[in-house]
Subunit: 482 residues, 2 copies
């Protein structure tokens, strides 16, 4: 028994996951505060394990950690010994007040509030923008992921391709050409970490702080507004009606115009052909660019496929933004921009500066999933499921709510909005519903300005099944008829 | 045989991967230009397959795609028929000149050049910052990844936790407490897409454009400078000597100071204790913050473990940035910031605004890999391998190059720098070496200013084995003795 065994080491129960942690931390502390002197030879891991009543593996792991940190060294034939480490005394920190610190932050970010904790989903949740994963072919995804990792393990490590892996860009070009008639080649595509990064990168390359006027839809998508606000844009909300953005209300100095023409977020309407033409004409005439956020239009339930603005554009004015958060799953963090040639280098440079590139294994798995036709198949399958939910939602709203909720016609996507037609307190109803286990969103939360907000509700049906829809609407009906 | 079979469809060879693509594209074109009229009933997929000599699966897939796009519709009992699609005529685009377009870009990003194409690695490549993946336990990683995906498939889809998955933050907190004596809890950690995103987010929250003075090391890491430049910082390069950053040369108005104290990039020196103390004193006195980029110090080859600045800090001045690009692999895109409490909400808000969060499957796999001890084991194993390379590199440089290359002492990381001690044309040698299949980096490329640049070379030994080192140095020796 060497001197190491005299250490008073207190360990948690044997089967605890914290055993190794505790062992390591206490040995390290003993080295740091000089109880274990430099040059001291440690017993073999076998002897150590026996002395402390831990498994040999745990002892080896603890030694490994200390070796990896340099607290222990090994000498040929002499086992492990304690390295020469300067003892360290921890003092109490003297901490200035928080507001002194906060002044070191850029004014925009000062006063940011804590991110909401992961929400406990209500029993019946009309959550927006989230697809149903219970039908996702995860087993297939796992196989493709394993294959991608096997292939990656045979490639040299590299930082490369901030634009996105070539195979994924090929697959995306095929997908959007097929699914949305957006004519593009792999070269036109920049892969992003979801649509949010697409907005953020576009804001960075297109906005000159405190100068560039950016028109956004009112109501619209708050995280897009946040990205442009962070870049210093002068945001101008422009109202939306049943034909989409009121193009004639665009400020003349708008340089960037953000729209959701296929399925307006959150109202759900499609932009009419004449508005599309007017918008492109405005952009071309004023040298503005259009950001076309096509976030969920793969799910279409009827009518003719509307041409994307990108398809109609003749002046390289349109950035088309797509995402796999709805058609695959949000945790994937994959989206893309179809960018006009003149902006591509800037966009790729901004991507490289932001995070260099997206995770390879995720990109390669998605590339195989799309290229082998699984995406088209999954979309088709899910469209049937979502369509049934949408029909149930519409029918119930029209049958049971005609007193006070008027659904807004919508032929695509994963949500449906409804205006309140009589004076009910929507925010109070949302809160009461939440208390009864029903998750709903108010239209008001999607307005930049509370003054122009129309009262209403938005129902996501991506992640709620037909039973949930029936139960949730039943609760809502009861609340509204009080 | 219906009218569809009269279409002149030209298909590639049967076993081609493009068969489905061609079939789909031609049917779609026929629908769009009116050759297939709205309401036309298509033959069964079986009949269609037979007629075109394709497999039934291919026919089903082509129909699926067209259905998913809305070009075909199905009617109960009537099979698929052509939807009412407005014919579309594609015109030639009228495209203004590129410089007109480019004026729409923010000035900083205007004139960005195309990203370098993926490089063909030289035969003997002293590439910087890239680890050896031939020893990475990919089979284990695949197993953990499959397990993570299985667990994910049982969770509801969600956008959540921009700060990073709780399990990963736990694992990272354990790892940095162990490996770098950086005392932190999971709450202190913000997960990022590699160190690059950490720099980018910190630049965004800490820099007020055209105002904030940011001191960077000279020589230093260009992508970090790029992130701060993009945020509008006033960059001031501050020289580095054998003890690290020359703290006394810091401009008095520096508000952010970026350093690599454990293993200076690219010189490889460690910042001395007195400089560390002086730097923290400066920061505390002037209300500045320090960004400690600890990119590869898990690989330490002797000497005592140096305290991280984060550990020494008593004033919440230090942001500690770590990455898994060296200890795991770069394609993973995972890094983290240990952030002081006053900045955390802002940092998380900036992360959410940038890309919401990192890919779940990657985070969960890494969490398991770290928590189960595989990271510590892998680091220990690789340290032995890298140490042997480093010893060979040092010994050869000292033996064969004493005429003109002086290695700079360095006890950690994955690269070694050397100053040129006589007048050789380093840039010419780098280029000649490249032509002979040897990849090397000049020190000059890491300077913000060419004027102050010291001449020398940087040798990465993460991704080159001992044979490669010998062969590469032999070539270099011959070039230098001309």
């Amino acid at each position: 028994m060497g001197p190491v065994f005299e250490l008073p080491i207190r360990l948690p129960p044997k089967d605890s996951r914290g055993l190794l942690h505790a062992l390591h931390a206490q040995l390290r502390a003993a080295i740091l505060d000089g109880r274990l002197q430099p040059g001291l030879r440690l017993p073999s891991t076998r002897a150590f394990a026996a002395a402390f009543g831990v498994s040999r593996n745990t002892a080896v792991a603890a030694y490994d950690l200390l070796l990896s940190e340099g607290y222990l060294l090994t000498r040929q034939g002499a086992g492990a010994y304690v390295a020469a480490v300067l003892p360290r005394v921890r003092e109490r920190r003297t901490v200035p007040r928080d507001d002194v610190h906060e002044r070191r932050l850029n004014a925009f970010w000062r006063g940011s509030v804590a991110a909401a904790p992961p929400r406990i989903p209500p029993r019946h949740d009309f959550q927006l923008g989230v697809p149903d994963l219970t039908h996702f072919p995860f087993a297939l995804w796992r196989r493709l992921s394993a294959r991608a990792l096997r292939a990656l393990s045979k490639q040299p490590a590299a930082y490369a391709q901030p634009q996105g892996r070539a195979e994924l860009r090929e697959a995306i070009a095929g997908h959007v050409s097929f699914a949305r008639a957006v004519g593009c080649r792999a070269d036109d595509i920049v892969v992003t970490a979801g649509a949010q990064q697409a907005f953020d990168l576009l804001a960075r390359i297109l906005v000159t702080p405190a100068k560039t006027v950016v028109a956004v839809e009112e109501p619209g998508y708050p995280p897009l507004r946040a990205a442009f606000a962070a870049a210093g844009a002068k945001l101008v909300p422009v109202r939306v009606d049943a034909e989409g953005l009121l193009v004639e209300r665009l400020p003349m100095d708008a340089r960037v115009i953000c729209v959701t023409p296929s399925h307006q977020f959150p109202l759900g309407v499609a932009m009419s052909s004449s508005r599309r033409a007017a918008l492109l004409e405005f952009a071309q005439a004023r040298g503005a660019v259009v950001i076309e956020d096509d976030y969920d239009s793969e799910f279409r339930y009827g009518g003719r496929p509307l041409d994307a603005l990108q398809t109609l554009d003749r002046a390289e004015s349109v950035f088309y933004v797509g995402t796999f958060s709805k058609s695959l799953f949000p945790g994937l963090r994959l989206g893309y921009v179809v960018a006009p040639p003149w902006a591509r280098n800037a966009l790729v440079a901004a991507k490289q500066c932001s995070d260099w590139q997206c995770a390879h294994e995720v990109q390669d798995t998605a590339a195989a999933f799309i290229a082998e036709g699984h995406l088209a198949r999954h979309i088709r399958r899910m469209r049937g499921i979502y369509d049934a939910r949408r029909n149930l939602l519409l029918a119930t709203l029209e049958r049971d709510f005609n007193g006070w909720l008027q659904p807004i016609p919508s032929l695509a996507g994963l949500h449906l909005a409804a205006f309140a037609t009589r004076s009910v307190d929507i925010e109070a109803i949302v809160e009461q519903a939440r208390q009864q286990g029903v998750g709903l969103a108010s239209l008001r939360a999607h307005h930049a300005s509370g003054k122009t907000a129309r009262r209403g509700l938005v129902f996501g049906y991506g992640a709620i099944d037909e039973r949930g829809i029936t139960a949730g609407l039943e609760c809502l009906r009861a609340l509204g008829s009080r």
